[in-house]
Amino acid sequence: MRYLSDIGSFAIMIVEVFKKPTKWRMMKTLILKEIDELIFGSLGIIIFISFFIGAVVTIQTALNLTNPIIPRNLIGFTTRQSVILEFAPTFVSIIMAGKVGSYITSSIGTMRVTEQIDALDVMGVNSLNYLVFPKIIAMLLYPFAIAISMYVGIFGGWIAGVLGGFLTSADFVEGLKLDFIPFHITYAFIKTLVFALIIATVPSFHGFYMKGGALEVGKASTTAFVWTSVVIVIANYVLTQLLLS
């Protein structure tokens, strides 16, 4: 029953976010600040993780393809498919649910605890629009971060494959081009966009409606991470079923 009530509250929150917009002059600054914090502030970790994930996928594939009949370029193919279809959009999004999600929940939750949200409400500001809308808009740039993740992941795979002596550079590049379906990129970006909206809104919900003090802010951040990850995983399944099968 509580979950149903939370889903209802979440839906109401989303409607409120788009009502009574904040002045554009102020909103512009807020959006730029959030882009800096949520997107540019995450690029470092995204690049780091993607590089090593790509490298590990390549090594794992190479080590498991021991049959000499199987062409070596399949390693490049597998790396491309794994990184583009799952590792970059889904795995990185779950990492972002932790990094960006906990930042969103704790920053909004702290504002709730210290009555800053009440201060906005008393002034007549739509606090949900002021706090959540810039995050949603900033997260629309998230697919660009995931595009970088895809590129770096494949680059990491190439480095690990070639330097590790598992295959030649030509084999890897040939594998990358093998049976390439452009729709897979579209599918990955559609997923990414949905995950971006989930990462922006679910933690905001947990921060905005939290009650209590500093301890509860910590608990809300953990809960937000768990629920954001759960929703991402479910959305991933649903979107894959709808778009690829």
């Binding site: 102020m26 210290t114 409400d121 002034m123």
Partner: protein
């Protein structure tokens, strides 16, 4: 003037406000006192429009909040200033940014006009050199003054303060009390203060409302509170030996 007529407010099974009726006059510092759990904060939040009472009405100079259109409600909110218990300053903004925030949000003033207004109100609350400091870099007393400056920057008709003295040393508390009283008289606004501080009651309580278990138990002035026989009020206000002696001296002086 704020007229409160028989308001009720409940949360789940807890009936917090049980029909409070009172009037807060313009140009006066109106104090709400009472023990913890008496409904003071809920009452103040009802006055602010953050909670909607289930029964009864609140009229702001004849305007009943629930009967106003959303736009009129927003306009009315802009006539309200609020000083929160913990100041509620925006962490990411400087003192100047905090005070300028309502002007940037709701007015079409130029940057220089806003700057002039901010300088004026910061000077009024005796904060001259703190424009570019962040809330974490200034003392609790200075934070309260910034909160007061932010609350009055839009020239409000109504000023609400939730325990403005909490966490302050006695001297700073008196300075903040006097500042609120001066501003109330200077700008002729309706000020409502929620407080536990008996010094504030004695110093600036032009009208005092005592709440007990969600009901109005007593109301009067700071002079009348010395003479009252209401047991709940005397038990609460004169719980310390110091205030008992102050009361005794006051009565002896009058006799």
């Amino acid at each position: 003037m704020i007229e409160v007529d028989h308001i009720h407010k409940s949360f789940d099974d807890a009936h917090i406000l049980k029909g409070v009726t009172t009037v807060f006059d313009t140009g006066k510092t109106n104090l709400i006192i009472g023990q913890s759990g008496s409904g003071k904060t809920v009452f103040l939040k009802c006055l602010l429009g953050l909670f909607s009472p289930e029964e009864g009405s609140i009229c702001y100079d004849g305007k009943r909040y629930e009967q106003l259109t959303p736009k009129e409600q927003r306009n009315l909110r802009q006539e309200m200033g609020m000083v929160f218990q913990g100041s509620a300053l925006f962490d990411g903004m400087t003192v100047e940014g905090n005070v300028m925030f309502p002007l940037e949000m709701f007015t079409k003033q130029s940057k220089s006009e806003m700057q002039d207004r901010v300088d004026l109100v910061l000077k009024r609350v005796n904060l001259i050199d703190a424009h570019h400091k962040y809330p974490s870099e200034i003392s609790g007393g200075m934070q309260k003054r910034v909160a007061i400056a932010r609350a009055i920057v839009m020239n409000p008709q109504y000023l609400f303060c939730d325990e403005p003295n909490s966490g302050l040393d006695p001297r700073t508390a008196i300075i903040i009390d006097n500042l609120i009283k001066e501003i109330t008289e200077e700008f002729n606004i309706t000020t409502v203060i929620n407080t536990h501080d008996m010094n504030s009651v004695m110093e600036i309580g032009e009208k005092i409302l005592f709440l007990k278990d969600g009901l109005k138990e007593w109301e009067g002035t700071k002079h009348e509170i010395f003479k009252t026989d209401n047991e709940a009020v005397t038990n609460f206000v004169y719980s310390s030996e110091l205030f008992k002696k102050v009361r005794q001296m006051y009565i002896e002086e009058r006799n």
